[in-house]
């Protein structure tokens, strides 16, 4: 049976404090589930919403058909995290307009059915995405899966988002993407939020292997990499999250 080893890295936007980081990530290597989300910074408590989405995905990933009902429970969790009685008028109004985030979740198992039944064995994987956080699967030093975006030019300033507003989600779910595949020992699964994913795709298009030195990546090296790329104008200044899942 395959085992999953996971490394997680994150960094807030340059100029922001760590507590202002509005991406989120969660993983359960034993069960084989990984998720990243990117909270929209012009909304209210998107950080809480992003965190709610990734933690819930890892705890109980939804099948695509039941995503709308799954979201109802997440919205209730988000609402429970807000002290409504003490909100001043501007926060109440902003909260009424809702929180927004992208979501990318990956679950490993023998089959999709196993995934939803909380099986933990590797062999197959399944992913869902709303928005522009991306998954890359690397085998034998080649990227064999890019999901959901295929090229750097696919990024826009208005990606699909999951919201605490059910009406909004009806439209977003048209942008839901699902992907399945199989995995072997030695595969690398890369989950990245948009700024890093856009750079990564650009590197692939230039024929580079940006994951080349990530086998022993440390937090310090990750911070240096991101800051250098930002300074050189090769990566947009944004919150950055990277999950590396190695199958063994």
């Amino acid at each position: 049976m395959l085992r999953l080893r996971v490394q997680a890295f994150h960094l807030p936007k340059e100029g922001n404090r760590l507590e202002e980081y509005e991406d989120a990530w969660a993983c359960d290597a034993a069960v084989g589930r990984l998720a990243v989300a990117d909270g929209a910074s012009d909304a209210f408590e998107s950080r809480l919403w992003a965190r709610t989405l990734v933690q819930s995905f890892v705890r109980e990933p939804p099948s695509p058909e039941e995503l709308m009902r799954w979201l109802e429970s997440r919205i209730a969790e988000w609402k429970a995290g807000i002290d409504w009685a003490r909100l001043p008028w501007y926060a109440a109004e902003k909260a009424r307009r809702g929180a927004f985030a992208t979501l990318l979740g990956v679950a490993f198992g023998q089959s999709l059915r196993d995934v939803t039944e909380k099986a933990s064995s590797c062999g197959h994987w399944w992913a869902l995405a709303v928005g522009d956080a991306c998954l890359f699967q690397v085998r034998d030093n080649e990227v064999i899966v890019r999901f959901p975006l295929q090229q750097a030019a696919d990024f826009s300033t208005t990606p699909p988002l999951l919201s605490t507003q059910p009406d909004y989600n009806l439209r977003s779910l048209e942008a839901l993407r699902v992907c399945m595949g199989e995995c072997r020992p030695g595969d690398l699964f890369i989950l990245a939020t948009d700024a890093l994913a856009a750079w990564f795709l650009g590197e692939l298009e230039a024929g580079n292997h940006p994951w080349g030195r990530w086998k022993e990546l440390t937090s310090q090296q990750f911070h240096w990499l991101v800051r250098t790329l930002r300074r050189r104008g090769k990566m947009r200044n944004d919150d950055v999250t990277l999950l590396l899942g190695w199958t063994e």
Binding site: K13, G15, N16, S41, D42, A43, F44, E45, S46, R47, L48, I82, D83, R86, L87, P88, W89, Y90, A91, A92, E93, K94, A95, R97, P166, D167, N237
Partner: protein
């Protein structure tokens, strides 16, 4: 490149409104009987302060982040700051203090979607900072000079910020001289990120199509309209994009100027003209 600075709490931006409060503002918009221009403009400014406060609110812990300093200068019976309540007399106010100190809070009804295709009415709190005034002449030159004296120290204190945006809203001609020279002096104020942006909004007195973000003086009916056009800054790229996104025909020479605006164009102008390049 100019006009690219991100707005942050370390490098806030500044929005100053110059509001014509002369006697003619008591008339209704051209072709729109009912409430006066002064009343509808006060609604639009209150609405914008409401939206700015909300734009700067991101979580329940921190409340409103101080991304902006805001001022409202009236010119009519007198020239000076016109926010009411606790903010009376202050020229520039941090947006958090604006949000926390409306002069009063009214309750208004609005219709919202009920999630099943219908509409329900709900009550929302509508804070009021600014009340309508319509009296006397139009001392626009004095207002432009006051804006300069307020913003000159501001740009010195915030050299790395996005430069101040001044939005002048009037329905007529200045009664205290040619406003172009003081406007020119005002536009010379600058941060590292570019010169101050002066946008002019001319309110309609007669029915007729507004002239929106023109590139030249073609079609402007009189000397006063041409003066306001000449006083207006070119739109910076991100505002050009925002205006294009709203469906306006915008060219590289488009200026922040609308002639004969109805209230719908006023509200859109305020929204587009204050759209940030980026909030961090």
């Amino acid at each position: 490149m100019a006009y690219t600075a991100e707005i942050s709490r370390q490098n806030p931006s500044c929005i100053l409104f110059l509001i014509d409060q002369s006697g003619s503002m008591s008339e209704p918009f051209g072709g729109e009987p009912g409430r006066s221009k002064a009343e509808r403009l006060a609604d639009a400014i209150n609405r914008l302060l409401f939206e700015l406060s909300i734009r700067c609110t991101k979580d329940q812990k921190e409340g409103v982040r101080n991304y902006y300093e805001v001022g409202v200068i009236g010119y009519g019976p007198r020239v000076g700051p016109t926010l009411g309540g606790k903010l009376a007399g202050q020229t520039l106010v941090a947006i958090r203090d604006v949000a926390d100190n409306p002069a009063r809070v009214e309750e208004r009804r609005r219709k919202v979607e009920d999630g099943t295709g219908g509409l329900v009415e709900e009550t929302i709190k509508f804070p009021i900072w600014f009340d309508p005034v319509a009296q006397d002449g139009t001392p626009m030159c004095e207002a432009l000079r006051l804006a300069h004296s307020i913003l000159e120290p501001w740009v010195r204190k915030h050299p790395d910020s996005f430069p101040p945006i001044v939005i002048n809203i009037t329905d007529g001609e200045a009664t205290d001289g040619d406003p172009r020279p003081p406007a020119e002096v005002l536009r010379q104020l600058a941060t590292q990120d570019g010169n101050l942006l002066l946008f002019n909004l001319h309110l309609s007195s007669q029915p007729g199509r507004p002239i929106l973000y023109p590139e030249d003086e073609t079609g402007l009916p009189d000397e006063y309209a041409r003066q306001l056009f000449q006083m207006s800054s070119f739109l910076p790229p991100h505002i050009r994009e925002a205006a294009k996104g709203e469906g306006y025909a915008i060219g590289p020479q488009s200026r922040g100027f609308v002639f004969n605006a109805d209230i719908v164009e006023v509200i859109k102008f305020l929204d587009i003209g204050t759209r940030p390049k980026g909030l961090r």
